[in-house]
C-alpha cells in the first residue's frame, strides 16, 4: 500500500500540474486484483484519468524452463501457466507436439479430451463468475459457483487425480480412461447445470437491478480497441466479432460438434457476463455431444514413443482457452529440447488494453472492468 508518486517515465502517467490529481496504487496485494496485478491509477477524486497495469509479480520463468528441459518434462508446467483452465493448456501443448510429430491420437482419447477441456472451461467461467461477483460486493453467488465448481473438480478428479493442475494429457492420448460412472456423473452435472443452476444465476445475478446498473455501459471495449490490442476470447466476442479458435481454425475434433459462438455487440461488462453464461451453456452442449458419441477403444497409441524429437523448424499451434486465443510457438532444432517455446497467452493482450478502457471511469468501475475481462496473473506473467 505504498503511496509514493509514480516514479516511472510513462508520459501518460506524468503529473500535469493539477493539484487535485493524485496517484493510487492498487495491488499487488489487493482483494480484487486477482492475485498479484498492480494498477497504478492517476486520479482526480474518484475518477481515473490514466491507469497503468504493472505486471510481473507472478513471473515464474516458464519459457526459460522449457528451454532447459525436454518436451515431455514441460508437461506439468503447462497446466500451471493458467491454472483455471489448466486442462485446456495441458491438452493444447500435447496437441501441438502431436501435430508437429504426426502422432495419431486414438478416437476415444480425442473425445475424452474434449469432455475434459469443456468441463474445464465451464469451471473456469464459474470461477470467473464467482470472483467477479465478489469484486462487485456480492459474496453469496461466489459460494454457489464454488459448489458447482466442486462438482466439476470431483468429476475431473475421478480421472485425472488432481483438482486444479492436471497433468492429464500425454503425447498421443491421456493418462487414464473414463468409466461409466464418470459418464453418468457428467450427464447428471450437465442436467443440473442447465436446468437448475444457470437459470438460477440469471435470476439471482443477471436480472438483479443493482448488478445491471453496475455493469451496463461500463467498461466498453470497442471493436477497434479490441483489434488494435489483440484482445481475444469472450472480451472480443462481446464486441460482435465471432472469433473463436475452435471454429476459425478447428483443432482436435471440434468440427464434429454442433455449437454456437455466442456474440454480443455492446462490448460492455454486462455483455461479457451474458456471453460467458451463454458459453457455459454451449460448453454443456459440446460435452453432451461428446459423451453421447464417446467411442470405445484405446486411450493411448499402441506404442508411445520414448523420446520426442520434433523435426527442425518452427511451429505455431493455437487453441481457444477460456480466456481467448492461446498460441504455442515452438522452435525446434531436431533435438528433444526446444530452442524456444513461446506461449502466446490471451490475458496478456486482454490486459494490455486496460489503459484505454479504464480511462475516465470510477474506482468502483475499475474493479468491475478488471474483473470482467477475467485475468489470470501467472498466465500473463508466465
Amino acid at each position: 500500500m505504498s503511496t509514493e508518486p509514480n516514479p516511472e517515465p510513462n508520459p501518460a502517467m506524468a503529473p500535469d500540474g493539477d493539484p487535485e490529481v493524485y496517484y493510487l496504487n492498487m495491488g499487488p496485494q489487493h482483494p480484487s486484483m486477482h492475485g498479484v496485478l498492480r494498477l497504478v491509477l492517476k486520479m482526480r477524486g474518484e475518477e481515473i484519468l490514466e491507469a497503468e497495469p504493472v505486471i510481473g509479480y507472478a513471473h515464474r520463468a516458464h519459457e526459460k524452463m522449457a528451454e532447459n528441459r525436454n518436451y515431455l518434462m514441460f508437461l506439468p508446467n503447462t497446466s500451471r501457466v493458467d491454472y483455471l483452465s489448466g486442462m485446456i493448456y495441458n491438452i493444447a501443448y500435447c496437441q501441438a507436439i502431436e501435430k508437429i510429430m504426426d502422432i495419431e491420437v486414438p478416437e476415444r482419447a480425442e473425445y475424452i479430451r474434449i469432455i475434459a477441456c469443456e468441463l474445464n472451461r465451464i469451471s473456469s467461467h464459474l470461477l470467473w463468475f464467482g470472483t467477479f461477483l465478489l469484486d462487485l460486493g456480492g459474496i453469496t453467488p461466489f459460494l454457489y459457483c464454488f459448489d458447482d465448481r466442486e462438482e466439476i473438480l470431483d468429476i475431473l478428479d475421478s480421472v485425472t487425480g488432481s483438482r486444479l493442475t492436471y497433468s492429464y494429457g500425454r503425447f498421443g492420448g491421456v493418462t487414464m480412461d473414463v468409466d461409466s460412472a464418470f459418464v453418468a456423473r457428467t450427464r447428471a452435472f450437465l442436467a443440473r447445470m442447465r436446468d437448475e443452476r444457470l437459470p438460477k444465476y440469471r435470476r439471482l445475478v443477471g436480472d438483479n437491478v443493482i448488478f445491471r446498473e453496475r455493469c451496463e455501459g461500463v467498461g466498453v471495449i470497442t471493436r477497434d480497441v479490441a483489434f488494435r490490442y489483440g484482445v481475444t476470447g469472450p472480451c472480443l466476442r462481446s464486441t460482435g466479432v465471432a472469433y473463436d479458435v475452435r471454429r476459425a481454425e478447428p483443432y482436435s475434433i471440434y468440427d464434429r460438434f454442433e455449437f454456437k459462438i455466442p456474440t454480443r455487440v455492446e462490448g460492455d461488462t454486462m455483455a461479457r457476463f451474458d456471453l460467458r453464461i451463454e458459453e457455459m451453456e454451449e460448453s454443456c452442449k459440446i460435452v453432451e455431444q461428446a459423451v453421447d458419441g464417446l467411442p470405445e477403444g484405446p486411450i493411448m497409441p499402441a506404442k508411445p514413443k520414448k523420446r520426442y524429437r520434433p523435426p527442425a523448424g518452427e511451429y505455431y499451434f493455437a487453441v481457444e482457452s477460456a480466456r481467448g486465443h492461446f498460441g504455442t510457438y515452438i522452435i525446434s532444432d531436431g533435438t528433444d529440447v526446444p530452442v524456444k517455446l513461446k506461449l502466446r497467452t490471451p490475458s496478456f493482450s486482454n490486459l494490455s488494453s486496460m489503459p484505454d478502457v479504464l480511462r475516465n471511469t470510477m474506482v468502483a468501475d475499475t474493479i468491475a472492468i478488471v474483473g470482467s475481462i477475467d485475468v489470470v496473473m501467472p498466465e500473463i506473467d508466465r
Binding site: 515431455l72 453469496t140 438483479n208
Partner: protein, 209 residues
C-alpha cells in the same frame, strides 16, 4: 412512467434475489466437516509417489534404473542402488522423494519399467518444518535381508529350472515324448510372470474404476 417502471422492476428483481437466498437458507449445508468426516478420495487420486509392495515377493521391485529420476521435471527423486551381493537382480538402496518439489505429473509412473511406482493417498499433510524429503524404502528396509534370501532362492530355482529346461531341450533331440512336459513347465513359469504383470495392471485398473 418509465421512471416508475424502472423503480418497480428493480424492486421486483431484488425480491426475486431475496427469495432465492431465503430458500437456500433452509437447505441442508453442503459442508463436509473435514477433520470429523473424511473425504472419499477418487481412486485416481494423485499424491506423492510410493513403491508398490508385490504379494509374491512381499517387497518392491525397484531396480534402480534411474528412469524416473531422469524424467522427473522437478528433480525431486533421488535413487541410489545397484548390484546386491548374492542376487542377480539390482536393488535400490536409497529412494527418496521430495514431496515439496513434486508436481504430481506422473511421468515417473509412466516410465517405470518394473511398474513398481504408484500414487499414495496422502491428502492432508502438514508439518512444522520444510523438510518433506520422504524415504520411500523405509517400510521395506526391515524386510530387505529376508527378501534377498528369498530372492536368492527364487533365482536359484529359476536358474535350476532354466538348466532343467536347457537339459530337456538337449534331451529333446533324444526323447521327444518328454519334451511336452518341460515345455508345459516353462509355460507355467511364464504364466506366473504374466499374472504378476496383470496384477499390477489390475491395481491400476482398480484405480480407474
Amino acid at each position: 412512467m418509465r421512471y416508475v417502471r424502472r423503480v418497480l422492476g428493480g424492486l421486483i428483481s431484488l425480491f426475486v434475489g431475496l427469495s432465492i437466498t431465503l430458500r437456500e437458507l433452509f437447505k441442508k449445508p453442503v459442508t463436509l466437516q473435514y477433520p470429523h468426516e473424511k473425504p472419499s478420495l477418487s481412486p485416481a487420486y494423485r499424491s506423492a509417489i510410493k513403491l508398490i509392495r508385490f504379494d509374491e515377493t512381499n517387497s518392491h521391485d525397484c531396480v534402480a534404473c534411474l528412469a524416473c529420476q531422469k524424467i522427473c521435471p522437478s528433480f525431486c527423486i533421488d535413487i541410489e542402488g545397484g548390484k546386491v551381493e548374492g542376487i542377480k537382480k539390482k536393488r535400490a538402496t536409497k529412494f527418496t522423494m521430495d514431496f515439496a518439489l513434486c508436481s504430481l505429473c506422473g511421468l515417473c509412473i509412466d516410465v517405470c519399467p518394473t511398474v513398481t511406482l504408484e500414487y499414495s493417498k496422502l491428502y492432508d499433510e502438514a508439518g512444522y518444518n520444510r523438510d518433506w524429503n520422504m524415504d520411500l524404502l523405509e517400510e521395506f528396509t526391515d524386510y530387505e535381508e529376508q527378501f534377498i534370501t528369498e530372492q536368492r532362492e527364487r533365482e536359484e530355482k529359476a536358474a535350476a529350472e532354466k538348466k532343467a529346461k536347457a537339459a530337456a531341450a538337449k534331451a529333446k533331440a533324444g526323447k521327444n515324448e518328454k519334451a511336452g512336459k518341460n515345455e508345459k513347465a516353462g509355460k507355467n513359469e511364464k504364466a506366473g510372470k504374466n499374472e504378476k504383470a496383470d496384477k499390477v495392471g489390475g491395481q491400476a485398473e482398480e484405480g480407474e474404476a
